[in-house]
Point group: C2
Chain length 287, copies 2
């Protein structure tokens, strides 16, 4: 059996009791460690589980998945995924391959950022499609996210923006020379995300949002040091210090918001007077 | 401290290790038991936790929340919620009241149907707003959900439809006579939900969807007997036997679907030839 086990969002104790039982009994345990991270290291997980955990990088999962699935017709293999196995990162390919090999698959769900973000006080019912924000480079500044936000905003919905993480990156030079030397991991911040959003709006100017649109910056959702900050996109460009270490996410508000949502998030507002003014003008509009 | 603890979707072992520690140490433990249910009884939870669990009905949570919050400035109180505390059912009111009373609040996230539904193989990124379907009565057949689906479908997105549950209902007669006698709980099925959707489309005729639109019926998501069935809304009207006992949910597909989604859900199709024909004509359209 292949078990896809969600680890939740924060630390080693966010695994479910059911998931922990699977981990303790499995023949091999893999940790998917390239699309998201827990706030604790692999070593802490290993100590907590009392056993070895094999890091599964993108190359292994995408090109060498038979290695992971090996013998799992006969023994149990646990594949650990930060968040939920079918949340922000889905492992559809791995499941399809298991099906081809007639390997039964079982899922142990857990919190995903896509539901955990509800802790900011915005109602999950009112979220539209989710978008991903990648690190812009000098010559790659993809703006297709803007269309998606525009669609959500047109019908008044919130947009969850998941921000880029880069692990096991090689510099161009090391890649060219075939040296397996990796750069330190990079995690996009709310400030970087908000700045890229403002930049794209300034280029596109289609009014999907403005620098004065309200958004929530979220850090370490589900963890003990979880932090939410509410402000305009412009204000959030400078809120990284307040938010603290990764992981970050951002929610751009839709206008079809409820007064209860306002009451909840106002607590997080950087500038409550400004928040009240903008809210009264643009938000809380039911259709 | 008030702890909001998610229980996940299925049985007593879906609680996280962190959540279980909170439950074991808290002074009082409440279980919110009117918006969703686990697939196991309160007695099984009590045996598993080794302690008493107090059922919190709607009246207690909405009108008498100070009872729940009593003394929680000084002692820990655990409020257990099926799924995630900020998932399909949010307890914003309770948190706002705790804030007023200067009671610190901590959340222990868990799987919600709003992320767990990803196990059907449709990508959570491609979901629009979520809707709720209530039991129609002779003179109450609310169709505002139709507008929401239309918005989602217009931009090609999937729609998660959460279906009604009725617990602790009184008959009109018992209510009139003030008798605290309750009807047996009722859980809407995928078949009932699909039939109501078809009925409303036949009245509205705005083409938000048709009886031939593809949808997925889901039962007991996250549980050992989890079951998915894919078919047209018309087909799903008669798929309850195949899906089995509650809880059910339904996903109406959006046209902006990915081939990987097709490959995954085709396995669940009631009629694969028909599925292929409809998919080729209407789905898999990227914008």
């Amino acid at each position: 059996m292949l078990y896809l086990v969600g680890l939740g969002l924060s630390d080693e104790t966010d695994i479910t009791v059911k998931g922990l039982e699977v981990v303790k009994k499995a023949a091999r345990v893999y940790l998917e460690a390239y699309t998201s991270i827990l706030l604790v290291s692999k070593e802490i997980l290993e100590a907590y589980y009392g056993r070895e955990v094999i890091l599964a990088d993108r190359e292994m999962v995408e090109s060498n998945s038979d290695e992971i699935l090996k013998e799992s017709q006969d023994v149990d293999v646990a594949f650990l995924v930060v968040g939920d196995p079918f949340g922000a990162t889905t492992h559809t390919d791995l499941v399809l391959r298991a099906r081809e090999l007639k390997i039964p698959v079982s899922t142990v769900p857990n919190a995903s950022i896509m539901s955990g973000i509800g802790a900011c006080g915005l109602q999950l019912y009112n979220f539209g499609q989710t978008i991903s924000m990648v690190f812009f480079t000098d010559n790659w500044r993809p703006d297709s996210f803007y269309n998606r936000i525009k669609e959500n905003r047109t019908i008044g919905l919130h947009t969850l923006v998941l921000v880029d993480i880069k692990v096991k990156e090689q510099s161009l030079e090391n890649m060219a020379r075939g040296r397996l030397i990796y750069e330190p991991p990079r995690y996009m911040t709310v400030g970087q995300c908000a700045a890229q959003m403002v930049e794209v709006e300034e280029t596109r100017r289609e009014g999907a949002y403005t620098k004065d649109s309200l958004a929530i910056g979220a850090a370490r959702v589900g963890g003990k040091t979880e932090k939410f900050v509410c402000g305009t996109l412009e204000e959030l460009c400078d809120a990284d210090e307040l938010l603290g270490p990764p992981l970050h996410s951002l929610v751009l508000l839709g206008r079809r918001s409820h007064d209860l949502e306002r009451d909840f998030i106002r607590e997080f507002a950087l500038d409550k007077e400004k928040f009240d003014r903008i809210w009264a003008a643009e938000y809380g509009k039911q259709q």
